[in-house]
Symmetry: C2
Subunit: 146 residues, 2 copies
Amino acid sequence: MDQPEKPERAERPRRAETADALAYDVFSRACPSRGTLEHVTGRWGALTLGALYDGSFRFNELRRRVDGVSEKMLSQTLHALERDGLVHREAQPTNPPRVDYELTPLGRDVAERLLALIHFVEGRMDEVLVARGRYDDAARETRGGR
Amino acid sequence: MDQPEKPERAERPRRAETADALAYDVFSRACPSRGTLEHVTGRWGALTLGALYDGSFRFNELRRRVDGVSEKMLSQTLHALERDGLVHREAQPTNPPRVDYELTPLGRDVAERLLALIHFVEGRMDEVLVARGRYDDAARETRGGR
DNA sequence: CAGCATCCTTCCGGATACTG
DNA sequence: CAGTATCCGGAAGGATGCTG
């Protein structure tokens, strides 16, 4: 495979080890929850969980629902989510093969929180856009932009 | 600057435009909420919002709280979040300079949803780890790996 | 202290081809 | 259909040096 996920090498001390100042949570780079959180919130992870919240789908159905995802990325994403116990893979050894993906109970709980965040952000996009306008105006003014 | 964010070019049709098959518009790359959502859920964005939920912090304080973030990434992340109206930057023109960052009310609302997700995932990491063990065992068995 | 600019490495992710 | 394997371009991001 290509890059089927970082092989769990959480401890790559590129800088000083100051993690001990923090409680054992996502804020420490040594914590495995950071990895799972990135699967969940990652570009394709979030969209895949969102798509699967609507029900059970086959591989190519899913690909159509998650707009823009490549075969490779969807495959990788599904593997990561399945490994984390958020997605269940049901394969029938028929010909042609048929495989269905669906959320596990845990995956459903995660997707719920995720969608709450997504929908909240969507609902406040008008405020975000206004803030962006202000920020860009101020920046243009400061740097004497054209 | 280096890559201070994609300059809002939401429509880069690498593939066919089939976004209309989806209900939520975040799933369409043409929607600006996609960008903001990625600032919020992105690797450093999520951790930065989480850290700022605890109060107001100076640049290097934040860097210490968000373990592993580089100066460049923290700077970039803070700019993106400030531009989206989620973070407020308070700079005093003293010498040496002192700059404090804190969440805006909107940022606080977003961080709340985000932390709900983060804490949920953290609280269920034991289940995730068990699932990973099962998955890896099954894979090893299938491929007869060592 | 609080950053920006530059270089350079890593790796994400798309295109393509092939397998069962 | 449901994937895996390989190649490779471009973006993410760390290290370093400099400014106010």
